[in-house]
C-alpha cells in the first residue's frame, strides 16, 4: 500500500453511521482521494452514482438503515467500478453473484480498509 495509490482517485462511500462515515472521509481525503458522498442511504448512493461522471472505486456498507446496498452494487458492476463491502454482525445473506467481492468486517481499522481498497483498484495507466 502506498498513499499515492489513492491520490486523485474518486471514491464513493456508502455508510449510514455518521462517525464511521466521517472518519473514513477524513482518512481518504488525507490520502489524497476525493470522496463522493458519504451516502447514508441507498437512495442517496444511487443518486450519487448516477450523478458522478467518474468513480474509481467504492466502499459500500451492506446494510444502510435496514436497506441492502445491493442495487447500488449492481449499478457499479454495470459501470465497471470496483468496490468492497463493509459488513456488520447482523448482515443479510450476500447473494452469490457478490461472493467474490472483498469484505471488511466492522469495526474496520482504516489501515485494513485502505489496503483492501487499494487491492481492488486497477493499476493506473502509466
Amino acid at each position: 500500500m502506498s498513499e499515492t495509490t489513492l491520490t486523485g482517485r474518486a471514491i464513493l462511500v456508502a455508510e449510514d453511521e455518521y462517525f464511521t462515515a466521517t472518519d473514513l472521509r477524513q482518512e481518504l481525503t488525507r490520502l489524497g482521494a476525493s470522496v463522493i458522498g458519504p451516502a447514508p442511504s441507498l437512495e442517496r448512493a444511487m443518486d450519487l452514482i448516477d450523478a458522478a461522471l467518474s468513480i474509481d472505486a467504492a466502499v459500500l456498507d451492506i446494510n444502510l438503515g435496514g436497506e441492502t446496498i445491493f442495487p447500488a452494487a449492481e449499478r457499479l458492476i454495470q459501470r465497471g467500478v470496483p468496490f468492497l463491502f463493509t459488513t456488520g454482525y447482523d448482515q443479510p445473506m450476500i447473494p452469490s453473484r457478490f461472493e467474490r467481492i472483498p469484505r471488511c468486517e466492522k469495526p474496520v481499522s482504516p489501515e485494513k480498509l485502505i489496503r483492501t481498497l487499494a487491492s481492488v483498484l486497477p493499476n493506473r495507466p502509466s
Binding site: 453511521e17 462517525f19 464511521t20 462515515a21 466521517t22 472518519d23 458519504p38 454482525y89 447482523d90 469495526p107
Partner: protein, 508 residues
C-alpha cells in the same frame, strides 16, 4: 343260543322243553344284564378319566337341592380346596361364598337361568381360601333333562381364565398408559404400512397437520400436502434417504394449516424391513415445536442485536475518545469530558438493555433519564409533551448523545449555569414527511441566559453542534436547527420515528 344234550337217545317232553326254554331265557337275561353293567362301568370309567384329565372343572348339581353330584379334580387346582371339603355340608352355599361378593349376584342369576332350562355362560371371580388369590372363571352351564323334559340336573364346565384375563388387563392398562402418554405429551404418532400405503395416525397427528380427527384417510399424500412448500422437497428427501440408507428419520419442518397458520413439527421415525431389505413398515412420532422455534428465533435476534449494539458502542466510544481528545486542552480536561460522555452512553445502554425485542424506548423516558443525571436542575426545567413516543433503538443512542451535549452545555454555560436561566423542552408528533413517515418535533429552548458578548469564542459545544447539525441529519434523516439567541440556545429537531407511532399517544 342254548342246547341240551343226553347220553342216550330220548324223546323230550313238552314240560322238559318248557323248562329248558325258561332256563335259557333266564340265563340270557342274566348274561345281558352282566354285559350292560360291564358297559356302564366302562362308560363311567371313561367319563371319570375324561373328568380327571380335564383342566376345566366339570360338575353336575341336583337341580332341586343344587348339591353337587359330580365334581372333577381340576376343582382342587383352581379353587385350592379339596373336593371333600367342597362337597361337605350345603355345598352350593359354601361354593357361593368362595365367589367374590361383587360376582355372586351374577352367579346365582345364571344358575337360576339354567334351572329354568336355558344355557348360561358367565365370568366370575373366586377367592381361593388356601392363599387368598383371585381366580377368574368362565362357566358354561347347561340343563340336564329327563325323558319328560324336566330339568333334573344342572351341568357345568368351569374354565380357569385367570391368565388370559390378566394378560388382557395388562394389555389394556399398557394401552391406556400409552394413550395417556401420547395425549399428555401431544405426540402425533404414525404407523405406515409401506407396502399397502395404509397409515394409522394418532388423534394428535391429525390436529398437528390441521385436520379434524378422522377428517381424511391418513396417507402419505395427506401428510405431504400440509408441508410448507419450502420444506416439502427436503422433508420428503430426508424420509426417502432414511428409508434407503436404513437410518433413523429425524426432521424439523413446517406445516401450513387451512387457516394459513404455520407450525413447526419435529418428526422422528424408523423403518422396518424384510430379510431382503425391502421396507415394510415405518413407525414414528411427531411433536409440535413451534414455540421452541419461535423462542430460538427471538433469541437469535436478541443475540444479533446485542452483538450489533456492542460493536456499535465500541465504534462510538472510539470516535468519542478521538473527538474529546481533539477538543481537550490537557489530559485532566480529557478525563473529565470523556468520563462524562461515557456516563451518558452507559445511561442509554441501561435504557436499551431493559427492553425485550418488541419494546421500544419512549422519547420521554430518554429525556427524563438524561435530565435526572443533572442534579438540582429540576426546578428550572419544564417538560411538555406526550408520553410513549417510541424510538427505534438505532435512534436512541444518537438522540441521547445529542441531548447529552445540549444538557452539558446548558449546565456549563447556559440556562442551568445561571440562576435566572430557564430551560423548556417540548415535543409533539407532527404531520408525516413526504415518504409518509411519522415525525417527532422537539423544541429545546433556553431563556434568561446572559450571553457572552458577540465576537468572543464560541462556548464549548463544538461536538454538540456537530452532532445536531451534522450527525442527526446524516444518520437519522433529521431536520435540525441550532441557534444562539439573545438570551440562550434554541434548538429544534424534527426526526422520523417508528411507524408504530401513527396513533396519537396519550398526553402528559
Amino acid at each position: 343260543m342254548l342246547g341240551l344234550n343226553d347220553s342216550q337217545v330220548r324223546h323230550w317232553t313238552d314240560a322238559e322243553a318248557d323248562l329248558a326254554r325258561d332256563v335259557a331265557e333266564r340265563t340270557w337275561a342274566a348274561v345281558e344284564h352282566a354285559r350292560a353293567e360291564q358297559a356302564l362301568r366302562e362308560s363311567e370309567e371313561r367319563l371319570r378319566q375324561f373328568g380327571a384329565a380335564s383342566q376345566d372343572v366339570l360338575w353336575i348339581r341336583d337341580s332341586e337341592t343344587l348339591q353337587w353330584q359330580y365334581l372333577t379334580p381340576a376343582f382342587e387346582t383352581i379353587y385350592g380346596l379339596s373336593r371333600e371339603e367342597a362337597l361337605s355340608g350345603n355345598n352350593y352355599r359354601s361354593w357361593l361364598e368362595l365367589v367374590v361378593p361383587e360376582d355372586r349376584e351374577k352367579a346365582t342369576a345364571s344358575i337360576r337361568k339354567v334351572r329354568d332350562g336355558e344355557h348360561a355362560t358367565f365370568e366370575y371371580r373366586v377367592r381361593r381360601p388356601s392363599d387368598g388369590e383371585i381366580r377368574w372363571l368362565r362357566n358354561t352351564d347347561f340343563p340336564i333333562v329327563d325323558a319328560t323334559g324336566k330339568v333334573t340336573m344342572v351341568g357345568g364346565i368351569g374354565q380357569d381364565i385367570t391368565l388370559p384375563k390378566l394378560a388382557g388387563e395388562r394389555i389394556e392398562r399398557s394401552e391406556e398408559r400409552l394413550r395417556s402418554a401420547v395425549e399428555v405429551g401431544k405426540l402425533g404418532l404414525w404407523d405406515w404400512n409401506v407396502r399397502t400405503g395404509e397409515i394409522h395416525w394418532s388423534d394428535e397427528h391429525f390436529r398437528m397437520e390441521g385436520y379434524a380427527v378422522g377428517e381424511v384417510t391418513p396417507s402419505y399424500d395427506t401428510w405431504a400436502a400440509r408441508i410448507h412448500p419450502d420444506d416439502r422437497a427436503t422433508t420428503e428427501g430426508a424420509l426417502y434417504r432414511a428409508m434407503e440408507r436404513h437410518e433413523e428419520y429425524v426432521r424439523e419442518f413446517r406445516v401450513i394449516h387451512p387457516d394459513h397458520s404455520v407450525h413447526w413439527l419435529f418428526g422422528r421415525g424408523r423403518f422396518f424391513y424384510d430379510d431382503d431389505g425391502t421396507p415394510l413398515r415405518m413407525i414414528g412420532a411427531m411433536t409440535d415445536i413451534t414455540e421452541r422455534r419461535e423462542w430460538e428465533e427471538r433469541q437469535k435476534i436478541l443475540v444479533a442485536e446485542l452483538q450489533h449494539r456492542t460493536r456499535n458502542l465500541m465504534g462510538i466510544v472510539r470516535s468519542t475518545a478521538d473527538r474529546t481528545g481533539e477538543a481537550s486542552v490537557d489530559l485532566a480536561d480529557f478525563r473529565g469530558r470523556f468520563a462524562d460522555r461515557l456516563d451518558a452512553l452507559a445511561r442509554v445502554q441501561s435504557l436499551l438493555s431493559r427492553l425485550s425485542d418488541t419494546d421500544r424506548v419512549a422519547f420521554d423516558e430518554l429525556m427524563r433519564t438524561e435530565l435526572s443525571a443533572m442534579d438540582g436542575a429540576a426546578d428550572r426545567v419544564t417538560l411538555d409533551g406526550p408520553n410513549g413516543i417510541r424510538l427505534r433503538s438505532s435512534m436512541v443512542q444518537m438522540l441521547a448523545m445529542a441531548f447529552h451535549e445540549l444538557a452539558t452545555n446548558a449546565v456549563k454555560y447556559g440556562a442551568l449555569s445561571q440562576s435566572g436561566g430557564r430551560l423548556a423542552i417540548s415535543w409533539q408528533m407532527i404531520e408525516p414527511d413526504r415518504r409518509g413517515r411519522p415525525r417527532l418535533h422537539i423544541d429545546w429552548r433556553e431563556s434568561g441566559v446572559t450571553m457572552p458578548p458577540a465576537g468572543t469564542a464560541p462556548q464549548g459545544g463544538g461536538q454538540g453542534r456537530e452532532l445536531i447539525e451534522q450527525a442527526l441529519p446524516y444518520q437519522l434523516d433529521a431536520k435540525t436547527r441550532f441557534e444562539l439567541g439573545p438570551d440562550g440556545v434554541h434548538c429544534t429537531i424534527t426526526v422520523p420515528v417508528s411507524a408504530s407511532n401513527v396513533t396519537e399517544p396519550a398526553h402528559v
